[in-house]
């Protein structure tokens, strides 16, 4: 029996509080496309991607119409290219990126993830080729997203890779300097990267995944904020319960759409990622949830505690709502993609150091952080190393998506447009960590890795 009140509540979530399905992402294995001739490999991956996801966009649009729930993005994630292309003799991996871009255009999707390498234990020859090609690949394509996993809790941290990524980010920024270094907005450095993350830029189809899979990301920061606002001045115990119940309802939408999409496309359902993912639109901000919880401005004292509670309540509610939960599944704090974060950073209240603390208790990491264009590569590597260490020691996923905006400094802003939003340039510490980064080598896995 459907209650009148429940129906109106659902309508309000969808029509006024920005409840939506953030992404339906099809993961596609490219492991059977291997060939030593890179042109043959490129043709094979183009054919497999476009055939596998041929109906992704139309079927997703049908589901939107059927349920009246917006599906904002339809995307594809592939096997990390450094793995899929390992047999290729050529070093011209940018050609593979161009092929992925062409496949994305054919399908009508806005991002394709998986231009990736997993180097947490060390580098293969293919890994080195892929890393070297990243700046060119990201500056000459529109839709391709790249990620590099430099650490796991069991392997330790590949600090040679961390050092390289500082330079790769600088080179990518330089090659896209005319567009506020937007290439770096499509590049993520990970610790403990998940194999089934549906969100960009870090999505790839892990090697333990099946031939194809449907993973769904939901989003409802606006819904959660409204629920918190309606709760008034209740205790934190009550607030945690309200957030949990709200997260249940939001994630149920993801479960429903995931099931429908999997059935419509004849592809197994993988996971629902229950992350609270903001957009720059008004009313769709995670920072505003934290402020509604009782902070004058996000970034002040108490922010980490609020975020920890929010993240935990979202997970508890979301877990009950879906058969399989995976991906990143927590609260996102991307600075350029959240209206509240943008304001707090602009006002100097939300700093890089505070964001780093916040990443210890939520899911994504230092995300969409614009820093001065003259930031040294070693400093970028130091910021990455800090973030990766938090993930490695705490057995969680952390990531860094840093954008040194060429030609801009503190007090200025980078404009990326669309869902990527705009970001105030944030200051970094001028004192150097170059000697630490230049040592190279590997940081061993922590004691907590020995669980056997």
């Amino acid at each position: 029996m459907l209650e009148h009140y429940d129906i109106l509540e659902t309508i309000q979530m969808l029509k006024e509080e920005h409840l939506d399905i953030r992404t339906v992402t099809m993961g596609i294995s490219l492991l059977d496309c291997a060939h030593e001739d890179i042109d043959v490999f490129c043709q094979r991956i183009y054919d497999k991607i476009t055939k596998s996801a041929e109906f992704l966009v139309p079927r997703a649009c049908d589901i939107e119409k059927k349920y009246g729930i917006p599906i904002i993005n339809k995307r594809v994630a592939v096997t990390p290219i450094s793995v899929a292309a390992a047999a290729c003799k050529s070093s011209d991996y940018a050609k593979i990126a161009a092929t992925l871009d062409r496949a994305a255009a054919t399908l009508g999707i806005n991002f394709i993830g998986g231009y990736s390498a997993l180097v947490h234990g060390g580098f293969t020859n293919s890994d080195r080729k892929l890393l070297a090609s990243i700046p060119e690949a990201l500056s000459t394509t529109n839709c391709v997203c790249s990620s590099v996993n430099v650490a796991t809790s069991r392997s330790g941290i590949n600090m040679d890779a961390v050092a390289m990524m500082g330079h790769i980010i600088k080179d990518t920024a330089a090659l896209t300097a005319d567009r506020d270094s937007i290439g770096c907005a499509k590049l993520v450095v990970f610790a403990n990267a998940p194999e089934d993350n549906p969100f960009m830029a870090g999505a790839f189809h892990g090697v333990g995944q099946p031939e194809r899979v449907i993973n769904v990301g939901v989003s409802g920061p606006g819904v959660v904020r409204s629920a918190v606002a309606r709760a008034g001045d209740c205790s934190l115990s009550e607030l945690a319960d309200i957030i949990k119940k709200t997260a249940f309802k939001v994630t149920r939408m993801g479960q429903m759409v995931a099931h429908d999409a999997a059935q419509a496309l004849g592809v197994p359902y993988g996971i629902v990622d229950l992350s609270l993912a903001p957009t720059p639109a008004i009313g769709d901000s995670v920072a505003h949830i934290l402020e509604e919880m009782g902070l004058e401005t996000c970034g002040t004292h108490g922010t980490t505690a609020c975020l920890a509670m929010l993240n935990d309540a979202v997970k508890k509610g979301g877990m009950f709502a879906s058969s399989f939960v995976g991906g990143l599944s927590g609260a996102f704090i991307p600075v350029s993609e959240d209206a509240g974060m943008i304001d707090a950073a602009r006002g100097g209240v939300l700093t890089l150091d505070k964001l780093e603390a916040m990443t210890a208790v939520c899911s994504v990491g230092l995300d969409m952080i614009a820093v001065p264009g003259d930031t040294p590569a070693e400093t970028l590597s130091g910021i990455i190393a800090d973030e990766i260490s938090i993930g490695q020691v705490n057995h969680k996923t952390t990531a860094a998506r840093l954008i040194p905006v060429v030609g801009k400094g503190v007090g200025e802003e980078a404009e990326f447009g669309g869902l990527l939003g705009s970001a105030p340039i944030m200051p970094v510490h001028p004192q150097s960590c170059a000697r630490f980064i230049q040592r190279g080598g590997r940081i061993p896995a922590p004691t907590t890795a020995l669980k056997n």
Partner: protein, 89 residues
Amino acid sequence: MKAVITVVGADRVGIIAKVSNKCLACNVNILDITQHVVDEYFTMTMVVDTAASTIPFTELVDTMTELGKEMGLVIHTMHEDIFNFMHKI
């Protein structure tokens, strides 16, 4: 297949009649109606059966939306699963 039609807006004469007539025209059977008027603000939810509908569901959605615009109201037509999934375990 069941759907839920919700109507929200300023109260006026003939809302239920017009929406019901549109359902009749499409051979959509009305199973349940709940309706309130509070301070001249009208809300109605209708549970309907579209199994024998003469038009596709997506067209019914658009037809009802247009009817709402004509009357200065907001009409949403949604598959019942969305409500079942969200509010039931």
